[in-house]
Amino acid sequence: MSRRWYAITTVVLALAVGACGKGSDDGGDSSGGVKTGPGTTADTITLGYLPDLSGVFAPNGKSMMEGAKLYWDAKNEAGGICGRKVELKTQDTGYDPQKAVAAYQQISGDVVGLGLVLGSSITSALLPSVKQEDMFLNFAGWTSDILPNENVAIAGTTYDIEAINAIDFLMREHGLKAGGTVGHLYFEGDYGENALQGSKYAADKHDLKIVEQKITPADTDMTGAVAAFRRAGVKAILFSAAPPQAASLAGVATSQKLDVPIVANGPGWTPQLLTTPAAGALAKRYYVVSSMAPLNDESEGVQKFLAAYEQAYPKGTPSSNGSLYAYAGAQIADAALTKACENKDLTRKGVLDALHSLTALDTGGTIAGKLDFSDPSQPPSRLVYTARVRKDAPGGLAVIGEPGTSDDAESYQFGGS
C-alpha cells in the first residue's frame, strides 16, 4: 500500500467526521421585542450594496458610494435606526451579471435587503433569488419595465414619464406645436426604449412626429443622427443616452446650425460635461428632466445633502444621479427600516411590508414629490424636476420652477404596450 492510499483515506475520514460543516440559522430571533432575521440583530442592521466600481459605470458607482456613506455615517452618528447601527456590505459588480450573481451569493446571507443595485440586466439576473428571499431592492435605474414588482423600489418616477413631461415642457416653453417634429436619440436597451415608449405616447396625444435615432453606448459620434434630424426638420431633440453622446450631440448640432432645444433624461447629464469643449453649446440649449433634484434646488433635503457633501468631500463633484441618488435611496431604505422597527418586525418580510406601507414619504426634495410605495405596479411618484445647464450652479444644473407633472403623464398607463 502506498502512502497516497493513507493520505486519501485520512482526507476522506476527516471530511466524514467533520460533516455538517455549515448549518443554517435563519430562524426568526427576537431581541427587545423586535423580531429579527438575516441581516438584523439587537444592535446592527446590515444592508447590501452592489454598485459598479470597475466597469463602464465606475465613475458613477464611486459617486454613489460617496452619497451612501454620507447618509449612513450621519445616521449612525445620530444613533442609527431604533438603536441599531447600520452597516454596509459592499461588493463590486463590474456591471457584469456573472460577477453580480457571485457577489450576491456572498453577501445575501448577511443582509436584510439591498440598498443599491446598479443596472437593469443585473437586477433581472438577481430577481429570482431576491424574490425568494423576500428582500427589498433599491434599484438604481428608472425603467418602468421592471414593474410590477413587489421587491423593487424605484427612486421617483420612470423614464417614460420623464419623456412625456419633457414633451410637455417643450410645448409649454419652447413653442413646440401639434404637427411638429421631434427627434429622439436613444440607447438600445431598457433605458432608451423605455423613454421612447413615453415620447411616442405623448406624440400620439399631441399629433407630433417622432424621428427615432437608435444608438448603442459604443457610438460616440452623433454626426449621422444630427444630419437625420436636420433633414427631418426637428423642432426639438429628446435625448435618452449617456454624457459622451450628449457632448457630441450638442457640439455637432451647434456646428451644423441645428439650433433647437435638447431635453435629456436624468442619466444624460453629469457635471463633468462642463469640462468638455461642448460646455458652451450645452449651456445654451440643454435641459434635463428627472426625478432627482438639481443641486441648486432650495429644498431643505437637497441643501442638507449639499452641505454635508462639501464638508466630507471638499474635492469631489456632487451629482444628481450619482451621490444624490444613493443618498435618496438611503432615505427610502431608512424610512422602510424605521417603520419596520416600529412594527416590531425587522425580518426581511417585515421590512418589505413596511416599505409598501409608506404612502407619502417626504425626502425633503431630493426626489420629486411625495413617494407612495403602496402599489407595486406603479412608480412611487409621477413628478419630475426640470432644469437647465448653468455653469456656476452646483452640479451644473439650475432648476426651473417647482417639481410637476403633465396631464398626459398622470393618465399614462404602465404595462409596456
Partner: protein, 356 residues
Amino acid sequence: MSRAPRAAVAVGVVVVVAALPLYLESFWLQTALFSMGAIVAAIGLTLLVGIAGQLSLAHAFFVAVGAYGYAFLAGTEAAGEDGPAGLGLPPLLALVGAVALAGVAGALFSPISGRVRGIYLGLASLGLVFLGQHVLQNATSVTGGYEGVAVEPFGLAGFGFSDSDPDLTIFDVPYGRLERLWYLGAVLVALAVWYGRNLVRSRPGRALATVRDGEIAAAVHGIDVVRYKAAAFTVSSMYAGLGGVLTALAFGRIVPESFGFLLSIDFLVMVVIGGAGSVGGAAAGAVFVTALPLVLNHYSGSLPLLAEPGGGGIGASEASRFVYGAAIVAVLLFARDGLSGLVRRSQSREVKESLI
C-alpha cells in the same frame, strides 16, 4: 501505480467531490458552478484551436445558443412575468436539444470555417458574436430582450435541481439549488473531460492534428480535410452549448450581456493559459479566468493593500484585472505552451534527474 491504489484514488476523488457541498458556502458553490460551465466550453475551444488549428472568436455565440436554447426548450409554455414562453420539454430532453442546437449552429457555420483560415477565420467568426447580441436583444419573444429569460431548473426522474421539490437535508445541511447543481456540474465536467481526452488520442484526433499541421499532407494520407474541419467545428460548438446550459442553470436567469465579445476573448485566454490542445490545461485555464476575479473580489476586505469597495485607492476589481493581465503576460513569456506544458516539462525534468 498498481491497479488497486489507482481505483482507490478514483474512489477518494469521487468521495471528496461528493462531500464538498457539505462544506462550501454558497459563494464558493456559485463560483464553482460558473467555473464548471466555463471548463466544459473551454474544452470545446481547445479541441478546435489546439487540435484542429481553427481560431474561433465565436465561442460566446455558441455558448449563448446552448444557454438560451435550454431556457427556451425547457421553459414553461405560458408567457408570464418571468419572461417569454418556452416549449415546456422535460429538462433532460431540453439539455440534449440545446446541445444539438449549438451543434447545428456550428455545422451551419462550418462551410465558412472550412474555407477560411487562421486570423481570417477569427475575424469571420467574430461577426457571429455581434449578430448573436443583436438577436438576443431584439428577438424578445424568445430571448426576453435585455430583461433576459428565467431558466427552468434542471430535473431528473422527479428530482428537481432547485431549492425544493423535494426538500432535502443531508447532515443538517439543507440541499438547495447550488448544492444539487454541483453534482450535475461535476458529472458533466467528468464526461466532457473523458470524451475530450479520448477524442484527442483517438484516430479522428490524430487526423485533426495532421490537418492542422499540413492540409495537403493530410489529404495525401486519405483524410477528408473538409469533413474533418466541419466535424471539429460542430463538436466544439456542442461543447460550447453544454457549457452554456450549465452556465444558464448556474445563473437561474440569463441576460444578453453575459454572452458578449469579452466572453469570447475570455475563452481564448483560458485556452492559451492552459496550453492550446490540452484538455486538462483548458480546464485549469477556465477555473483561473473565471474564478480569479470573483475570488479576489471575495477577499477584498481582508487582503492587504486593497481598498474596501467604495473607498479610494486600488480596489479588488482593479487589482484582479492587473493580476489577470500579468498572468497572461507571464504565461506567454515563460510558458509558451501554457500551464499544461509547464507541468509536462517539470515532469520530464524529474525523470531526467532520476536517471542521472
